[in-house]
């Protein structure tokens, strides 16, 4: 009898016992994923007194639902801020994700298809000149003069002693350098970035602080390494023969990249885009420092609901819910592309 149950049509299909077990596990984890979100939804409908009295689970049964939190966030006192911050979040996240995807994909492609041999000495020279330039600015030399001086110094040194540099790095070193730029905690990075933006604002007159632009460029730089690492693994799968064929037919590098490589790697592109969109959408610490009243994003609004009277759970829940809805919709729309394979490259490469 067991024989009959276990014997199935395809070698890969599952026995009923395995199937039941799988469903129990799947539903179990689905509950783990969904329950906190359900709790948010319930909390958003509660009056403060219901939240503080104890755990109530089902609206209308345990407690009388109230729309006061939704009203406060969407139509009441906070509505103007919510709308403005929502617009900021949408603009900053989408623009930075798109640009990071474009730049990162190009760089990832370059790292898999070309050989780079940056000279170790030249890099050291560059850092030396840069440090010198910063010291010059700190001791009071006008920044424009310092810039010209160090660029001139760098070029002269590179031309004269540059040919002696033998030791060079490879593509994997460049990739590691890129990922290493994410290693310093944001707490340490954010003050210097703030100072830098302030300096650029004072010296050149490009006002950056409290603008969407500042957040956009910061997020691009922060997300680029992730794009490059994920896409690099992906590009390795695409057979190089296809590109060689295109080159023989007379297509330029750019043409090959746009009309052959990109369509083939669409699933990876889509999934990577989803990641960096979510990261930029949810980023908190950098936004906290670099944005002011005008360019605030939603994570800050969520954190701001922790008022002097303790966390305002009901407002917070509403904000978190309205924040995840667009991302979930995008994820549902893009899921079919992801399923076909992100990082296939590393598997077959």
């Amino acid at each position: 009898m067991f024989e009959r149950i276990f014997k199935s049509k395809s070698v890969l299909s599952m026995s009923p016992i395995e199937m039941t077990l799988s469903y129990i596990l799947l539903i179990g984890w689905a509950i783990v994923c969904l329950f906190p979100i359900y709790w948010l939804a319930v909390t958003s409908l509660k009056l403060p007194i219901d939240v503080n009295m104890g755990p109530y689970y089902v609206p209308f049964v345990d407690f009388e639902p109230s729309g006061h939190a939704w009203e406060y966030i969407l139509a009441g006192d906070l509505a103007r801020d919510t709308r403005r911050n929502y617009a900021n979040t949408v603009v900053v996240a989408s623009v930075s994700a798109v640009i990071a995807l474009i730049l990162g994909t190009a760089a990832a492609y370059a790292l898999t298809r070309f050989d780079y041999n940056p000279k170790l000495g030249a890099i050291g020279l560059f850092i030396l000149c840069l440090a010198l330039g910063i010291i010059l600015v700190v001791i009071g030399v006008p920044w424009l003069l310092a810039l010209v001086l160090i660029i001139a110094l760098f070029i002269i040194l590179l031309q004269t002693i540059g040919k002696r540099f033998k030791r060079s790095l490879g593509n994997s070193d460049i990739a590691f350098w890129l990922i290493s730029q994410r290693m310093l905690p944001p707490v340490a990075v954010v003050i210097p970035i703030y100072i830098m933006f302030q300096f650029l604002g004072n010296a050149i007159g490009v006002r950056l602080l409290d603008t969407r632009f500042a957040l956009i460029i910061t997020y691009i730089a922060v997300n680029l390494p992730i794009v490059i690492w994920l896409m690099r693994d992906y590009f390795l799968t695409i057979p190089i023969e296809l590109e060689e064929c295109a080159a023989i037919d007379g297509a330029s590098r750019y043409r090959t990249f746009v009309s052959i490589v990109l369509p083939l790697s669409l699933p990876g592109l889509v999934a990577t885009f989803l990641f960096i969109l979510v990261f930029a959408w949810n980023e908190y610490l950098l936004a906290l420092f670099l944005s002011g009243a005008k360019s605030q994003t939603l994570p800050l609004t969520v954190a701001a609901q922790n008022a002097t009277r303790g966390p305002q759970w009901w407002y917070m829940s509403v904000l978190i819910l309205i924040m995840i809805i667009p991302v979930i919709l995008i994820a549902i729309a893009l899921e079919r592309f992801i399923a076909r394979g992100l990082l296939v490259g590393a598997v077959k490469g």
Partner: protein, 369 residues
């Protein structure tokens, strides 16, 4: 080739420099925002902020900030309180060192042996031994882990669980089950919530008095127990939140990798009589190994910077039990010890870089074999 005009020359020139055109925008972008902060915070790590009439001045103090962390007033906070390891601690330590020596021995016997490589690996083994000694000493009874060790616990325990869970779930939803697309989207949800939001959400969840899990706690007779007043309870709460949020990242990438592998190989193995466990171990795992490497590296780098959860959930407490390095740096920064804060950040950078380099070099070369 039939275009000798100016436009043609420009085009050819452009074509010839394709490699630069592709990579430089990204490099410059990262360089623009990373070099300056790196230098400034390095300078701050060696200096002390002092308030003087009419503002503040930054005074260069050399290694004082690091000395404070490693042997001075902040030592207990940063490295923890050491005590003599128990028997189990000794056993674990010997086992770990044995594994490291085995790794070194295998390299010496291997074909790619070189003196430089041996020195490089020797340094890695020595530092790892030192780290292991610190972990064993501070985690044994009587000791107290500092922020450094707590961060390692978060990173390594968290990633191990996230990877296992993510892989298990990905394996489940690649089975031909009806409704699996629904589960795929649902399993992604935790990643979509802003980390600050997750932190506050888990503060609700871990509230044993008014939180939704209160009846379960009551039933277990733990009605008076509070997660956040017990050091390991608070640490587990932080880790559970982290696992909840980041398992989806592991899940989706592994899922895609699993979807990409060919089905024929598995079918052939099944026909030959292999069981599921053998297939997983001998066919699936080697195929997804490279992806797993990239994935774990990315997660490791991100996990070292954990700050939102301990900050919101427990504010680093009880005492300093749940403080991660980033939170430690953040708290120093808030108390205007800018130099100390930068020194912690730089210690973190050194540690992450060390683990990153060790990880990439040891494991990548094994994949290449």
């Amino acid at each position: 080739m039939e275009q000798p005009g100016l436009w043609g020359r420009v085009q050819r020139r452009f074509e010839g420099s394709a490699n630069s055109v592709f990579i430089w925008p990204a490099i410059l972008m990262v360089l623009f925002l990373s070099i300056f902060p790196l230098i400034i915070s390095l300078y701050l790590a060696f200096s002390r902020l002092k308030f003087v009439p009419g503002g503040f001045e930054i005074k260069f103090v050399g290694l004082a900030n690091f000395r404070k962390l490693l042997v001075g007033t902040e030592k207990n906070h940063f490295l923890g309180k050491t005590s003599h390891p128990s028997l189990l601690g000794w056993l674990l330590f010997v086992l770990f060192v044995g594994l490291l020596l085995l790794f070194l021995l295998r390299y010496i016997r291997g074909s790619e042996f070189s003196i430089g490589g041996l020195i490089f690996r020797g340094v890695i083994v020595a530092v790892l031994t030192l780290f292991a000694w610190l972990v064993i000493q501070t985690l044994s009874p009587g000791g107290r882990p500092g922020t450094m060790v707590i961060t390692w616990v978060y990173v390594f325990v968290g990633i191990a669980i996230q990877y296992t869970l993510g892989l298990g779930l990905a394996l489940l939803v690649t089975q031909p089950l009806p409704g699996r697309r629904f589960f795929r989207v649902v399993f992604l949800l935790p990643m979509m919530i802003t980390p600050v939001g997750v932190a506050y959400m888990f503060r609700m969840m871990t509230d044993t008095d008014k939180g939704p899990l209160q009846p379960i706690w009551q039933a277990m007779g733990l009605g008076l127990y509070s997660w956040v007043t017990d050091p390991w309870g608070a640490r587990s709460a932080v880790m559970i939140g982290d696992i909840w949020q980041w398992t989806p990242f592991m899940f989706i990438v592994l899922l895609a990798a699993l979807e990409a592998q060919s089905i024929e190989q598995r079918e052939a193995a099944l026909v030959d009589g292999a069981n599921r466990w053998q297939i997983l171990r001998n066919i699936t795992m080697p195929q997804i190994f490279p992806v797993s490497l990239t994935l774990v590296l990315i997660r490791m780098i991100e996990a070292f910077k954990i700050v939102d959860l301990p900050n919101v959930l427990t504010n680093g407490g009880p005492g300093t039990a749940t403080e991660s390095l980033t939170l430690h740096s953040w708290i120093s920064w808030r108390t205007l010890d800018i130099g100390g804060s930068a020194a912690i950040a730089y210690s973190l950078l050194l540690v992450v870089t060390f683990f990153g380099i060790a990880y990439v070099n040891i494991l990548r070369t094994r994949v290449a074999e």
